[in-house]
Amino acid sequence: MQAVIQATMEFLKLYWAPLLCGLVIVAVLPLVVGYIVLVERKLMADMQARLGPMRVGPHGLLQPIADAVKLLIKEDIIPDNADKLVFWLAPVLSVGAALLSIAGLAIGPAFQIAKDINIGILFVVGVSAMGIFGIVLGGWASNSHYSLMGSLRSSAQLVSYETAAGMALVSGLLLTGTLNIKAIVEAQSKEGIWFVMLAPVAFFIYLVASIAETNRAPFDLPEAESELVAGYMTEFSGFRWSLYFLAEYTNMIVVSSVATTLFLGGWLRPFADVHLFNFLDYVPPLLMIGVAGYCLSRTPKQPSGVQQIFMLAVASLCFVVALVLVAPVVLPIAKPFYAGIHGGFWFIFKVSAYIYFFMWLRFTIPRYRFDQLMRLGWQFLIPLSIVNVLVVGVALIVSSYFNLHGWAMLLVTTPAAIIALVVALMILAAGQESQAGKENAAASDFYAG
């Protein structure tokens, strides 16, 4: 007994910080996801000429909490013919994989739980892909046709697009030669240019594939509401359902973070090494002050005293954040925290922009059909990504031969990207030709993918 306690103490002494971070992630992430959902609903409402949630809290700011409470106290239904153990396990698997992959990410140089694992990106991508087990098992365990079809679609889709996404990541990784997340961002800092400039086609492929991987519109077929009711989630309700939901949105954060790290310069400020652009350091605090000002201006319009106080609290919170953001820039004492605080801001900013793009797509365009989705994946994205790896590789050899660095590398990588694009157009044209004759005959075996 003594030994066990001692071993535990030793373990805690060594790993208290990551454990704490892990706890924070598990505790805070649902809240973050809740607010992402709120933002999504608000954005959707804005694009659709309506208001969105407005009732719970001022401007619906407490809606996520109300939703969470509602889901928690809902009746827990397990269908009679369901495989109870698997039904219980599946959402946990999904959400566990999603939360675990967060551990590998670096939100700013100061905040990373699994510090400096040398297979960083591979770990994140691999673990987050494990979430598909939860979806397949959940669909199978429900013993319902809709669920089964949803989960089959989901697995086929993930397998197909994981290939393209992986290839796109390889093109990006060729530029750094490392999988370590910190080293990847540092390489971009050293070159002074983000990899999205050097490998735009890879970024594009990853963008499309990551939307498909996270089952977001226009690739949200596994849960296509109008066809499969709710896909693999049909039989799930209450908290189990919300676990799936949590997993889906966490996966969105994960793929956005991977894209941000590898292609968008991670936590680097735009033009981090150019002194001329140092004024950009004032953008984060000004942004927060703007939000605070907006909240202040809305305060008198709130219907009740409680809501006015709430709005004031939000405004002052934003103001405090602005102060925290501005301190490292103006106060010499706070200088050491600059990288951590501003790095965190820029990382979250870029991830948000990426997620915003996801949402924007969802509101704008219709849904693909399954055979079209598979065709896009196998006949377009995968060939293109393979070609792109080749082209980027050649471009890198050429640029190292001429000893090009930073922006000068654009001289070779831009032609390379153009070549890749031409290949893409050729693939598209060939695909359309071959498809013209057998429009409807091709799709019979798409689960084989």
């Binding site: 000429a49 109008s226 499969l228 509101f363």
Partner: protein, 403 residues
């Protein structure tokens, strides 16, 4: 299916109650595989879409036989919203029955009312005064736009485009406001009376309609920017649910579904009623009869309806709004069939009078019900995702299918 459907259905229910394992009727035959516990092992899957399903537009129930995701058979089961409207007609006076017809196609109540009122007028051998006829035309065309807007929004939603629905609802709201100002009701309006109108047009009717028409042109263009040239939209609708002109005629399909198949048949031109003979408008027709064509036809129809409204408000004749009909309607014994071009197709009323105050028989030809018969032909060989696109493109309203 058809008129005998209900009889078959009853028997089917009894059979299922006795022996739950044997589902399936004529089209699906007895090779049902539902008892196969391991779903993955089944070659054919029978999936039950509806009556509670997000995209069956009400309480339509579709039994689909699937091979993987490919549809190899389908059966529509209807009747969940049956209220016996035709039978009710036999037990009400002619005026009393008029509000009931609003409840059939409840998203196009004005059109339903127009058809019924004109049918009874034909039976009475009276004619509505010119002023009434023009106002009827305006309201009916507005209703057509509203109905098509609702179709567009839900159809786009079924295919996965979330946003057009709300834009469509925004414009539909304007139309409903006009209805509300005119007669106090928004959906089940009962806007017309046998012999003309009950209410005089309110003062700013012309202005309201004109303002709506002015805005509406750019709004249709807005929907088109979201959908018409969208690659995914084209991919999802082109070549899906093709209905040839021969098939369409054989099934008795009418309305935009028929016109999209290339048949130029519109009762507003073929047998003008109300005041349609006074206005210039085009009848859009499609070529291939697929979902995309039906989409284009309905979009163009909205534009044409707008033009009709604009022409009509220019010159609304003065005069009485109600022809001389008695308080108690006793049409001479006889029968009449009168059909109008409702938003969804030919809406016909066959009314038999025996000289009393109540109709002897009211038979209604609902366009949705008859258009739905072509569903199986359109859906075979397509994927599950296309099923919802095809249900959407037929534009059914279950209140009218089941009556």
């Amino acid at each position: 299916m058809g008129a005998g459907e209900f009889g078959n259905r009853e028997r089917a229910v009894k059979r299922v109650a006795a022996e739950p394992e044997t589902e399936g009727e004529t089209t699906l035959s007895s090779e049902a595989t539902t008892e196969n516990k391991t779903l993955l092992g089944a070659d054919e899957l029978i999936i039950n879409m509806g009556p509670q399903h997000p995209s069956t537009h009400g309480v339509l129930r579709v039994k689909l036989k699937l091979d993987g995701e490919r549809v190899i058979g389908s059966e529509c089961i209807i009747g969940y919203l049956h209220r016996g409207v035709e039978k009710i007609g036999e037990n009400r006076t002619y005026q009393q029955f008029a509000p009931y017809v609003d409840r059939m196609d409840y998203v196009a109540a004005v059109s339903n009312g127009l058809g019924y009122c004109e049918a009874i007028e034909k039976l009475l051998v009276v004619e509505a005064p010119p002023r009434a006829r023009v106002i009827r035309t305006i309201l009916t065309e507005l209703q057509r736009i509203a109905s098509h807007l609702l179709w567009l929004g839900t159809h786009a939603l079924d295919i996965g485009a979330l946003t057009p629905l709300f834009y469509c609802m925004r414009e539909r709201e304007e139309i409903l406001k006009i209805f509300e100002k005119y007669c106090g009701a928004r959906l089940t309006t009962h806007a017309f009376r046998i012999g003309g109108l009950q209410y005089e047009a309110y003062d700013t009717l012309e202005k309201d309609v004109e303002r709506f028409c002015k805005d509406f042109e750019s709004r249709v263009a807005e929907y088109e920017t979201l959908l018409t040239q969208n690659r995914i939209w084209i991919g999802r609708t082109k070549g899906v649910g093709i209905l040839t002109a021969e098939d369409a005629i054989a099934f008795g399909v009418t309305g935009p579904v028929l016109r999209a198949s290339g048949v130029k048949w519109d009762l507003r031109k073929a047998a003008p009623y109300a005041a349609y003979d006074q206005y210039k408008f085009e009848i859009p027709v499609g070529t291939t009869g697929d979902t995309y064509d039906r989409y284009l036809v309905r979009m163009e129809e909205m534009r044409q309806s707008r033009l009709i409204c604009l022409q009509a408000i220019e010159n609304i004749p003065a005069g009485p709004i109600l022809a001389k009909v008695g308080k108690v309607l006793k049409p001479p014994p006889g029968e009449v069939y009168h059909a109008i071009e409702a938003p969804k197709g030919e809406l016909g009323y066959y009314v038999v009078s025996d000289g009393t105050v109540q109709p002897y028989r009211v038979r209604i030809r609902p366009p949705s019900f008859i258009n739905l018969q072509a569903f199986d032909r359109m859906v075979r060989g397509h994927l599950v995702a296309d099923v919802v696109a095809i249900i959407g493109t037929i534009d059914i309203v279950l209140g009218e299918v089941d009556r």
